[in-house]
């Protein structure tokens, strides 16, 4: 199909040098020059701009329609060549086609996970949109119907059977619901704060048991880990970053998830517990915090009479508080992680200073893994305990206990 190949390349480029045209077909430059010279009814040479080599002179298609007729006619005149030849050379095996839906589903899921590393809000929105495209296309693959994929609503997932054949295994309907919920939450987090109702609904989507024939448990673990990160991002105090969780927020979400996992004993129960915790958390976090202070590990909820405050505080910080500094625990918002307490003024000052020290250290961290953040926090907490031990030596013993507990969540044998 040598001549047809050159004519086709010319139709695509419209204006070209023979050297450029040769790259788009199987012929070499000399053959292309010869062919162009012989086809003066199809191509014209443009005025020479000072370049002398035959391969560098510019040519142009005279009439695209005439050229296309010539291509069609010459393709038909070549038995066994042209389109049939190409189609045969690039035929896609049936089993490979059947892998498309499974690949699109996994691509959506991995893209959603990758959002955790994307610093810009617009970038995360684009990625969430890509993931939704793949999820909708997956729905179009498995749900018979005539509507275009981009018109399919997530609610369509309810029409699916409990187990969906992807062509390369099965996935559950619940997994798709969870994927779609994560996509919506990712998009919402990139856009800023979201309504509590939305979060509760998303959490409910994630509470249902998952199960599939491929990466179920691993996927569920990653999904469940990502969810509290995003949830904290959207329900956390505003004015900090652009919806991308800062290191202190990642610490809190990691601890929240791992605590739930440890207490529940398995991923499914932990996800249920997590959903309950997040709903509670959504009601307990302040809308804003003052600039310049700690954001995630210490928050003032109310100013009370006599200089007292109602605060949220990172639970291990209470463990390293000298006994002389009084507080009254009001609620375990996230057991072992976040506590609401009523504090005396001096107590508030000390806790604010502790939280500031931990957060300052975390925001300078290069670590991305949750375990590393926990380890880094343990180091700072121990250092703070030593400074507090001048007032109360029992701080050291309580600090050791708190740090052992933290390290066990990081998977460090203690």
């Amino acid at each position: 199909m040598s001549r047809v190949g050159v004519l086709t390349a010319a139709a695509v480029l419209h204006e070209f040098t023979p050297a450029q045209l040769a790259v788009w077909c199987e012929e070499d430059v000399d053959a292309v020059v010869e062919l162009l010279a012989d086809a003066s009814d199809l191509f014209r040479r443009l005025p020479d701009a000072g370049k002398s080599g035959a391969g560098e002179q510019r040519w142009q298609v005279i009439d695209a329609q005439v050229l296309r007729h010539a291509i069609t006619a010459e393709s038909r005149a070549l038995p066994g060549e042209g389109s049939d030849h190409l189609a045969a050379a690039y035929r896609v095996p049936g089993n490979r086609l059947s892998r498309g839906p499974a690949a699109r589903l996994r691509m959506a899921e991995e893209t959603l996970m990758d959002c955790a590393e994307e610093p810009s809000a617009l970038g995360r929105r684009i990625m969430a949109e890509s993931a939704k495209n793949y999820l909708r296309q997956f729905l179009a693959d498995v749900v018979p119907g005539s509507r275009p994929w981009w018109e399919l609503e997530p609610a369509l997932v309810e029409a699916l059977p409990e187990h969906v054949d992807t062509g390369a295994g099965t996935v559950t309907r619940w997994r798709l619901r969870a994927d779609l919920a994560l996509a919506r939450l990712t998009e919402a987090a990139a856009g800023g704060r979201v309504e509590e109702d939305f979060l509760v609904k998303t959490a409910e989507e994630l509470m249902h048991p998952l199960g599939s024939s491929d990466v179920d448990e691993e996927w569920h673990r990653r999904l469940s880990g990502r969810f509290p990160e995003l949830a904290l991002c959207v329900i956390g105090p505003s004015g900090h970053g652009n919806g991308q969780p800062a290191a202190p927020a990642r610490l809190m979400s990691t601890l929240t998830w791992r605590r739930a996992l440890t207490d529940a004993g398995n991923i499914r129960e932990a996800t249920r517990e997590l959903a309950r915790v997040l709903v509670r958390l959504a009601k307990k976090l302040p809308a804003t915090v003052p600039k310049g202070g700690p954001t995630y590990l210490f928050q003032v909820l109310d100013d009370l009479p006599y200089g007292r405050e109602r605060i949220n505080v990172y639970a291990p910080l209470l463990e390293i508080l000298p006994r002389q500094l009084r507080y009254q625990e009001e609620e375990l918002v996230v057991p072992g992680v976040l506590v609401t307490a009523i504090t005396e003024p001096q107590t508030s000052d000390r806790l604010r200073m502790y939280a500031d020290a931990v957060e300052d250290d975390l925001v300078q961290s290069d670590f991305t893994s949750g375990s590393a953040l926990i380890g880094q926090t343990v180091y700072v907490v121990q250092h703070l305990a030593v400074t507090g031990a001048g007032m109360d030596v029992t701080v050291l013993e309580r600090s050791d206990r708190a740090c052992r507990d933290l390290l066990s969540l990081a998977g460090v044998p203690v």
Binding site: V12, G100, A103, R104, E118
Partner: protein, 356 residues
């Protein structure tokens, strides 16, 4: 000129370099029969043993000799002796005898010359013309890897070689790296080298984007599909003798890589290849043009988008929408691009506006 006892590639110890050089010198000299050697080795023990012996000789003489030329000459002589001994067997099948005889004659052309860099230069000359002013000069580095890239059984996956182009490139050039598992460097891996180099030169060397990701459906899927097509077009120009074998092993390697959707790069390949085929089909039906022309339209758009300096995630998002029927705004934008009313850059603007 390489000094005795040294390697022109910093990532390779001299003995490893001499071993690869000696084997590659043999493969280059016999490239006209390399495809048949690969095929026959799959079911003919004599040929399989011959190729294993070649690898052993290369490793042995590369350690014994300090000089590249002496090592290559020793390997060629040892293998010629091996082939002659095999040909002495009166029970040798006739087709095997013909192939080994022809191989032996071609061994005379074996020379102590780096065959890797000329391969890159041949691919580069095509890619430079393709990308024009956007082309970024490419340098080659060679490194040894300690295992098969996919940990595979060499009988099913003989392509014990990978390539990459680290990101970001330096201001003056991109570095193309070939990573070869020398213990399994056989004729099939050699024949696949132009495919890998074409992928690097079409997909990565001239790319303008903010980051590189080996699981990008645009860079590793959509553009990869395009790179295979260019390899098919360029094969005979890169090397008329090796061309048909290049194409054959490009297809075999593609089959192997496409078979894996458990890895992230595998998923990206499937999604990107499917997207390219969807777009190809759309051009073909919407404009009533031949399959060849519709394919070349996809190629042109891919090349144009690759050099638009926009975030990779935006290009990925474009690929994620290439499923028929296309969203109305994209359908309209693609028609305008086809009619040359908008550029590739403006097409990506539309994609970004749709998300925003």
């Amino acid at each position: 000129m390489t000094m005795p006892g040294s390697s022109p590639y910093g990532g390779l110890e001299p003995p490893m370099w001499r071993s690869l050089l000696a084997e590659a010198a043999v493969f280059h000299a016999t490239r006209g029969v390399l495809g048949r050697l690969c095929d026959m080795a799959a079911h003919e023990d004599t040929v399989k043993v011959m190729l294993l012996n070649l690898g052993r000789a290369a490793r042995r003489f590369s350690r014994q000799e300090d000089d590249d030329g002496a090592a290559v000459a020793a390997v060629v002589a040892a293998w010629a002796q091996d082939l002659s001994s095999a040909l002495d067997d009166p029970e040798l099948e006739e087709d095997t005898r013909r192939l080994l005889t022809e191989t032996l004659h071609r061994l005379d052309q074996a020379a102590c010359q780096d065959p890797f860099l000329p391969m890159l230069r041949a691919v580069e000359s095509q890619a430079r013309e393709l990308y024009g002013e956007h082309w970024r000069p490419a340098a080659l580095s060679l490194a040894h890897r300690r295992s098969h890239p996919r940990g595979a059984d060499p009988a099913h996956d003989p392509y014990a070689v990978t390539a990459k182009t680290p990101w970001p490139p330096s201001p003056t050039q991109a570095q193309v790296e070939l990573h070869i598992f020398a213990d399994r460097f056989g004729p099939a891996a050699y024949a696949a080298l132009p495919t890998l180099l074409t992928h690097e030169c079409v997909c990565h060397v001239p790319a303008r984007q903010d980051e590189a990701k080996n699981d990008s459906e645009f860079a590793e899927g959509f553009l990869d599909w395009v790179a295979y097509e260019y390899l098919r077009l360029w094969a005979m120009k890169l090397d008329p003798e090796l061309g048909p074998t290049m194409r054959k092993h490009a297809e075999r390697l593609k089959e192997i890589l496409d078979g894996d959707i458990t890895t992230r790069v595998g998923m990206a390949r499937v999604c990107g290849h499917d997207a390219a085929r969807e777009l190809e089909g759309w051009f073909e039906t919407e404009y009533d043009i031949t399959l060849d022309e519709s394919r070349k339209r996809v190629l042109r758009l891919a090349v144009e988008l690759n050099v638009v300096d926009r975030p990779l995630r935006l290009k990925n998002n474009f690929v994620s929408q290439l499923r028929k029927p296309f969203p109305p705004y994209l359908d309209k934008a693609l028609r305008e691009w086809h009619e040359q009313a908008v550029t590739g850059e403006e097409l990506l603007d539309r994609v970004e506006e749709a998300v925003s």
